[in-house]
């Protein structure tokens, strides 16, 4: 009876222990595995909005992916293609317009703080002209998906054969802030390569080599 009490106590204790520790255990990564890495970026750029809602194709900004090993972070000149005109959310602009009509005046220009960072970086003045007095300050983003230096991953080859970006980067179009959802370990690469060689990719048969020399040289 006494012993039973102790046994039960222990069981409960273990149960609780597991409950408490579980998140820690589940979140455990071996060194080098950056799964779930999600750094705060200098500009709160939303892939959900651009790639998801507005469905801008990935390649539009990351044009490097087609012709280079690196997909590349788009230069601000690319952003400016749209943001030369789009300065704030539609809602904000509409609100300003209505307010202006009420107050019988020309609507003021609304610039969202995040987009403003672009203009500042490029040293543009109110009228979107280069203001020589302002310095040019390139923005340094934080790389989310990192591979070791001895791995040579070539975007070009994957994009040109029709691998969709999500396969490695996850559903970026749903992310406010980009997060690494896959562990991008060697096992992940190799299994995918094997699978594709076996079952083909979007219907066509592809030979995805698993030679070491494909990535390590």
């Amino acid at each position: 009876m006494n012993t039973r009490a102790i046994t039960n106590l222990l069981l409960v204790g273990i149960g609780l222990g597991i409950l408490v520790l579980f998140p820690k255990i589940s979140g455990f990564h071996l060194p080098g595995n950056q799964k779930d890495y999600s750094p705060v970026q200098p500009i709160a750029f939303s892939h959900r909005l651009h790639a998801g809602e507005l469905s801008v194709p990935c390649i539009y900004c990351h044009y490097g992916a087609e012709r280079s090993r690196h997909a590349g972070v788009p230069s601000f000149s690319v952003c400016m293609n749209c943001h030369r005109f789009v300065t704030a959310t539609f809602g904000a602009v509409r609100a300003e317009d209505e307010l202006a009509q009420k107050e019988k005046r020309d609507p003021r220009r609304v610039v969202s703080p995040e987009i403003l960072k672009i203009y500042d970086a490029m040293g543009l003045d109110e009228s979107m002209k280069r203001d020589p007095s302002k310095p040019l300050t390139p923005v340094s983003w934080i790389k989310v998906h990192n591979l070791p230096d001895f791995v040579y991953f070539d975007h070009r080859r994957h994009v040109n054969v029709g691998v969709e970006c999500q396969r490695c980067h996850g559903p970026v179009e749903t992310m406010e802030r980009v997060t690494q959802v896959l562990d991008l370990s060697m096992g992940f690469c190799v299994n995918c390569h094997r699978d594709i060689t076996k079952n083909g990719l979007n219907g066509k048969s592809v030979n995805a080599s698993i030679d070491c020399g494909g990535c390590h040289y």
Partner: protein, 998 residues
Amino acid sequence: MPGNDRKSLEERDGDPDFLRGPEDEFPEVPATEGGRTGFSRRSFLKAAGFATAGALMGCKPAPLKKAIPYLIPAEEITPGRAYWYASMCGACPAGCGILIKNRDGRPIKLEGNPAHPLARGGLCVVGQAAVLGLYDSQRLKAPVSGGKESSWPAVDEAIRGRLKKIRASRGKVRFLTGTITSPTARRMISSFMASFADGKQVVYDALSASAILDAHEASHGARVLPRYLFDRADCIVSFDADFLGTWISPVEYTAGYTAKRALPALSHHTQIESRLSLTGSNADKRIRVGPSDIGLVLAHLARRLAEDAGSPLSFRTLPPLPIDTGALNEMIERLLSNRGKSLVVSGLNDVDAQRLVNLVNHILGNYGTTLDVKRPSYQKQGNDRDLYALLDDMESGEVAGIFLHGVNPVYDLPDGTRFAAAMKKVGLVVGFAERSDETASLAHHICPEHHFLESWSDAEPVAGILTITQPAIRPLGGTRSLMESISAWMGTPKADYDLLREAWRSSVFTRQTLERSYQAFWDKTVHDGYAMVGATPVGTHPFSSSVMKGVPGPRPAEWTLVLYAKIGLLDGRHAHNPWLQELPDPISKITWDNYVNVSPATAARFGISDGDVLRIAAGSVAVELPAHVQPGQHDAVASIALGYGRKGTDRFANVGPQWLEGRPTVPEGGLVGKNAAPFRGFDGRSIQDWKPGVTVTRTGRRYDLASAQTYHSLSVPERMRGANPEPRPIVQEATLDAFLKNPAAGATRGEDPASLWPEDHKYTGARWGMAIDLSACTGCGACVVACQAENNVPVVGKDEVRRRREMHWIRIDRYYAERGNGDVGVVFQPVMCHQCGNAPCETVCPVLATVHSSEGLNQQVYNRCVGTRYCANNCPYKVRRFNWFDYPHEDKLQNMVLNPDVTIRSRGIMEKCTFCVQRIQEAKAEARRQGRTLMDGDVQPACMQSCPAKAIAFGNANDPESTVSKRKRDPRWYRVLAELNVDPSVGYLRVIRNREEG
């Protein structure tokens, strides 16, 4: 293919938005002189380079990786892609066309421009290594005045002021340069000099060909260097001219030479020399005579030919022929039977000898066929007599101002000290040297010039063939090009780019007819890297065999000292380049030193052995250097390489690892090698590179030489011959006659035994293979440095080489074969990883760090290697290289040259030739991107690309039409150690020499 991405910087100049962008994008980068937009994109490339370098260079992974995009990108730049710019190699005046590989804003590799009419795609060791020189942090970054760093305005002010005075006093001004092939620069110098009462340009070459020009002045009335067309010569007789190694334009000559050695036709090459040169080692017949007798043999040849021609020479009686008459007769026979298709050259810098050479070529009717004096070469323009005249003027204090460009007389003249003293008598001394060298350090002002990869320039190495040198990076320091400096001092400062454009519009564009618009012509030239234009023939009068007096050369003494140029260091201008210092000499295989070569017989006679320090003395001059016993050298000759003992080479003291028993690469307070220039002499007409009557004494001390090969024969040591008296069938040889009778002559063994195993690993796709034509390979070593540049092969330092730990992925084995009476046969064999089909290394690695690819590559996975070295032990070719220590760059700035496509290997890791797998992958990716299949030639490993002789072929052995497959069907094809059934993917084509048996 490089070609695809080739852009001229010019093309990008068109885009206004682009011009604006970068100008002010990186304000911290000082604006370029004169606000030239033409340069802005270089600041751009450079910045881009810095931005991505950290992530790409394969150093330790940073905890937080940043990505800094352009604000406004150059429309052509995509990070991670390489771009190629056509330009010209400025490492020597030969003027080979190159393609500069630019990656993320940094030039990281130079390759021969296949379209270029001179080099035809080849590039020599020096050219390959030149890119490292760009990142030499010891190059001057700003002008220097009176030994202190200064600024351009200040220096210009001072110099202009000084020049004003000189003009007023109508003083003598001299512009002493090395050979300058740039017509624009030459024009500017002459107009600059013309602005003085008595101004004159004086040209001299440290490795002088002055006598050749003088001789032609006498014989043809024009002081020109003929263009030698080896690709038209069926019979070549060379009197001590190392034209495959260091003489005038080796890459051009090698290309031509090998073009005439395509079997079954084979030119015949006789070399008469006193020391074993690279050229001599490739000759079909090599005649070993003392330096003084070379001229004598030449004289006999000339006399006999002249008699045949019916215009006997008015020689006083000649001393007897120093070689057996049979050899001479044979030579004459050959020459006469090849009238107009033969070529006689001489490297002797002796006017009489060169006159005889001209006479011989004239009699043989070679002028106009194998020698071109109408469209001559400008690769050597030196005039030794002018130089000495200048020296006298300086000593007499007549010279008021002197400019020194591309020369280092204090170092490389026979009497540099005399020159140094004379410089003190000159009121204004201005140097343009890239560093404060022996001469420049004595100048009042040093106006450092750009590296040739940083500036605009042009060149006309051969009449009618022009090249544009275009910059591939913004100048790393505040240097200034020669043309800009001159224009600044003439009061009309202009950008070299503009100067060039103007000059070309007026003087080059007009010489061509193909292009209508100047812009189109310019763009085409910049893109192609060269332009063929008309050249007004040099006015020459018909050959005059006037005054053929005397026999060149004094009588032989017991010891004659011969000075020669080494393939890597030449006249010493590249002594600061660690790649060249560590390149094994093609013949001696020794690195990091110069030494005294003595023949084995002589060594035996005086009891000299390798490493004994000898004291060589002639009059007041003496030098102490270690001995090296060199087979094939004349017994009365001691030879020493020039170009060593350069100021500042003590920097290499901390190259390589420092540890308990490690020894420094450079002895405490010493330099790399010793300077032998003081032994040179001036005979009143030309600089002599040999000195009779020197004394050689043993000091009793010893000095370790670092050699990359310590056993030199294919036969095992004498007392173990019981094992097998025959030489090992590693390099197979046959004579032309034997080959013509039986194409398989020289084969020692049938092909590999059939395997008992089923063919269960078929190569369904490509199977990469390599075929090396040993008949074509001259052993120059260009592939070695090319590979080093492409694959981030580290420099390990002298002590490590001495311990047989050099890292080169491709080595050139050199074997001697005794031919009796001191003559020696030489064969070269490039050896890299043979990528075996049944690789012994693969089975033994416990962690699968080296495994086979589906395309027959033997892959080495650095990051998996734990370093048991079992694979290296089990490699029959011994081509695997182990990182015994960490081998960082001695000069951190030189990390900029690292190829981002190849992993940097850390300590404790095995590495080896990969067949340039990064290039294979790149080619595949591009092919897929362009939706085409890989074609033969799409993939060119660095070694193959740079080979001036086109000896190496690489490709898919599964494709019956590929060059490799064709060579595999060649009867000369064999594979080394195939009997081990390791199934190597590398094969060789047997050496065929045009010589008689034995």
